[in-house]
């Protein structure tokens, strides 16, 4: 038996999660998207540190709705995780239920967020603070919308019977993106809503 023959061993085809390439592609997409948000927060704290007027304009933004939203997104991540565990154990139905719950929580989040945007006492073009507020929450909102579209596609594909135990790579990849979107919200919440209350 020579060295080459040692490689005649069973291997998974395509692989799931860490054994696949797609999951790693998503991981590095998240790395670069995470940097994007890091630069947004740099801009925010840089302009805050250089600001001579009141920062934030009109006092820190209201905590109530943002805190509700935080809870909504955290539970949506839990729901997504629960659904993913379902398909890993072979239950496509549990995946569908998990995805529907996740999508509903995400839609409620966006509705509340829309309400928040509509009730700001300033506009995108009022001053540097308002520009940053809208661009940071707007970037996050855009990520939520993209995430929701991904979840809807996954739900559709699941209903078409495309996923089963050991054959659900797109689910793992899509859901890890959704966890990232939720994680970013925690950073947005800490930077825009909590940090002004510290000083």
């Amino acid at each position: 038996m020579n060295d080459a023959a040692l490689y005649a061993r069973p291997l998974p085809v395509r692989g799931t999660r860490w054994a696949s390439t797609a999951w790693w592609g998503m991981a590095f997409l998240i790395l670069t998207e995470g940097s994007l948000f890091a630069y947004l927060f740099f801009s925010y704290f840089y302009l805050a540190s250089q600001s001579t007027g009141p920062w934030p304009t009109g006092g820190p933004p209201d905590l109530l709705y943002a805190s509700i939203n935080t809870l909504l997104l955290l539970s949506s991540s839990a729901a997504a995780w629960w659904g993913e565990r379902g398909i890993e154990r072979g239950s496509a139905r549990r995946l569908s239920v998990g995805l529907v719950l996740t999508i509903l929580l995400g839609v409620v989040f966006m509705t509340i967020q829309g309400h928040e945007w509509a009730n700001r006492p300033y506009a995108f073009s009022t001053n540097s603070y308002s520009s940053l507020y809208f661009v940071i929450t707007g970037f996050h909102g855009a990520h939520v919308v993209v995430g929701l579209l991904m979840l809807c596609a996954l739900l559709g594909w699941n209903l078409m019977g495309r996923f089963q135990r050991g054959w659900h790579l797109p689910v793992s990849v899509g859901i890890v993106y959704w966890h990232f979107v939720d994680l970013v919200w925690l950073a947005v919440y800490a930077a825009l809503y909590l940090s002004p209350r510290l000083s």
Binding site: L6, L11, S35, S51
Partner: protein, 662 residues
């Protein structure tokens, strides 16, 4: 590192996933297996094949040719400027035309030539160096090229109208704000850069995942060629840095189009925020466009010294530490902006420290030549010339890291001299040397040794005559970016010498281009390994077959083709017998560090989806540029459709078809 598979815990098949045991064997040229592989992997002839190919070798060659065309365009722009500056008080160009020319020269060379040309090398070479049949994401690779091409055209869209970007490649506000630059010039630049950033990002992700997951069995992380380290480091750097510039340009576009105030000091914004974001990106980018080129030298120079690179581990580590330090030096571009002394000291010291890893690499190259038996072929000349120019550019960079000296020299021609020594010295010379080295692999034909020597000496002499005097004009106080100068300030001679040198350099480039055109048709056949080199790409025919490797090679050292022949190279790699994977479009995926096979990767076939996706993006960006919500929305919706089609999962019970599509 032990990479023998027999000591790895056995994997347990089951849990619903499909498992397969790869057949092990040999493939004789002309056998049924070779024919099957060819049929599965080849790109269809004709226009459809050309637009749909996802073969990394095709994409790599396209990157190289496209980037080189941009180099020629940027070079012509430089020559026009050198005619204008050859003598004082010339009137060939108006000030506005001059502004657009120097801006587009910088944009073209830095964004449309320097990184894409290295992506070309890496795209073509990586799977061949790593012992794989394609990149990890072949369709993403095609998308990356098309977006690069369209973004390049986009950035030039307003050039014929006389409204090209005109605020310099680093585009400082407030000069680039709507108040002082009301035309479409800056909008084209802002949107074009965001567009181009998408290409860089998906390309970088592809490189990183390819390195970690598609290495041949046994090619543990300490056995990969240094070019791979260079491109890996550059790619990770890009993933962390490109968002800064995309964000900066998006904010600038918002400031210009929606009256926001990120950079507008009247409403709490800061012009310096632009400079921070731009250079947080810009400095790592500088390393992204030199580290892979340094990798080219680290891999190819030893071939001509007939010995392995001295200090492989030190060079790999210095590559990575250069990039890490590169993220902490951006403020040295901003020494003259009135920042606090503590900040200047910190960033000045950090900039000095970068000299250490750079010196490690330089001494490794010198030691390789010193201890080797150099063969003075054309590629060797370019690589040795590179080492010299790198030292000159490094020293002038070291000088400007000193804050007081930088205050004297900033915005003078000294900086222009420094950055050209660095960018031409560390990028263009290794690239041309790399083309002389790998042209046989790209095309199956050799370039001319005689014309190559002429090209090298003309370029080398022209370059030094052209750019060295810029140090002097800078020390004499000549500011950069002036469209002309008066005759009585003592800058006449240096400028004339610079202009003459730049034309000599251009003649050298022309000789090289002629050699390539001649070599494509009449170069003598190369054979698989004309230089008797050590790395895997030379184990396959020139040009390589569509499937790269008839069997997946099994690697036991850094120099698979020198084992047992060259002093100090141990191991017993196996390039003729290994996993076949000839029944579908497949290759082996392996673990991140030890490269133990852990998955059979099913690769996508040729597809028009990447081209279509790039077109939808182009449509969206054109819509934003012409302020058409309708066009932008159409582009975005079409993008969604394209991505859904791209990602549509295959049904679980579908058999893997022969010749295979996702």
């Amino acid at each position: 590192m032990n990479t023998r598979p027999d000591v790895v815990p056995a994997v347990v098949p089951g849990s619903g996933a499909r498992w397969r045991t790869p057949e092990i064997g040999r493939v004789a040229p002309g056998s049924a297996e070779a024919a099957a592989l060819e049929e599965i992997w080849k790109t269809k002839p004709g226009l459809f094949g050309w637009f749909s190919s996802v073969d990394h070798k095709e994409i790599g060659k396209r990157y190289l040719v496209t980037a080189f065309l941009f180099l020629l365009i940027g070079g012509i722009e430089a020559l026009v400027m050198r005619v204008q500056l050859a003598r004082p008080n010339q009137a060939l160009l108006t000030p506005e035309q001059y502004n657009q020319l120097f801006t587009m020269h910088g944009v073209t060379m830095i964004f449309l030539y320097a990184l894409p040309v290295l992506s070309g090398f890496s795209n073509f070479l990586w799977p061949l160096l790593l012992g794989s049949r394609d990149m990890a994401f072949p369709k993403l690779n095609a998308l990356s090229y098309w977006v690069f091409l369209f973004a390049g055209v986009f950035l030039y869209a307003s050039f014929p109208l006389g409204q090209a970007p005109d605020a310099g490649w680093f585009n400082y506000v407030p000069m680039a704000s709507l108040t002082y630059d009301p035309g479409p010039n800056i909008d084209v630049y802002a949107l074009g850069m965001i567009f181009l950033g998408l290409s860089t990002t998906v390309g970088s992700i592809n490189f990183v995942v390819s390195l970690f997951r598609t290495r041949a069995p046994g090619m543990s992380i300490n056995r990969v060629p240094v070019l791979v380290w260079g491109t890996l480091t550059a790619s990770v750097g890009n993933l962390l840095a490109v968002p800064a510039v995309s964000l900066a340009f998006l904010m600038l576009w918002f400031d210009r189009q929606f009256d926001t105030h990120f950079f507008d000091f009247t409403q709490g914004g800061k012009p310096l925020l632009w400079q921070h974001l731009f250079w947080m990106f810009g400095h790592p980018w500088v390393y992204a466009i030199v580290l892979p080129a340094m990798g080219i030298v680290s891999d190819a120079l030893p071939t001509f010294c007939r010995r392995p690179l001295v200090g492989y581990t030190a060079v790999a580590l210095s590559t990575i530490s250069t990039m890490i330090l590169g993220f902490g030096v951006w403020v040295h571009h901003m020494f003259a902006t009135g920042l606090p002394p503590l900040s200047l000291s910190f960033f000045g010291s950090a900039s000095f420290v970068i000299a250490i890893p750079s010196a490690v690499a330089v001494f490794a190259w010198i030691a390789t030549i010193w201890y080797g038996k150099p063969v003075f072929k054309t590629p060797f000349l370019f690589f040795a010339g590179f080492v010299f120019l790198f030292v000159v550019g490094g020293v002038s960079g070291f000088m400007t890291a000193a804050v007081p000296l930088d205050w004297q020299l900033t915005d003078t021609y000294f900086v222009v001299a420094h950055l050209h020594y660095v960018l031409l010295g560390i990028n263009v010379f290794p690239v041309v040397g790399g083309i002389y080295y790998w042209f046989p692999k790209f095309t199956g034909r050799m370039l001319s040794e005689r014309l190559g020597r002429w090209a090298f000496w003309t370029m080398f002499i022209g370059f030094n005559v052209g750019f060295f005097p810029m140090h002097i004009s800078g020390l004499l106080g000549m500011p950069r970016r002036v469209y002309t100068y008066p005759p009585d300030v003592g800058w006449n001679t240096v400028n004339m010498v610079t202009s003459v040198g730049s034309f000599v350099f251009a003649i050298g480039v022309l000789v090289f281009v002629l050699d390539v055109l001649r070599g494509l048709r009449r170069g003598p056949p190369a054979g698989a390994n004309p230089w008797d080199a050590a790395t895997l790409e030379w184990s396959v025919p020139s040009p390589p077959p569509a499937y790269n490797f008839a069997v997946i090679p099994i690697i036991a050292s850094r120099h698979p083709l020198w084992e047992g022949r060259i002093e100090g190279v141990e191991g017993r790699s196996c390039v003729h017998e290994g996993p076949l994977l000839h029944r579908g479009r497949e290759t082996i995926g392996s673990t991140m560090l030890d490269a133990i096979p852990n998955v059979v990767l099913v690769m996508p076939g040729d597809s028009l989806t990447p081209l279509f996706t790039a077109l939808t993006l182009a449509l969206a960006f054109v819509g934003l540029l012409i302020h058409s919500v309708l066009v932008a929305a159409l582009g975005t919706i079409a993008l969604g459709v394209a991505l859904a089609a791209w990602l549509w999962p295959s049904a679980p019970d579908a058999p893997v078809p022969e010749g295979a599509h996702e």
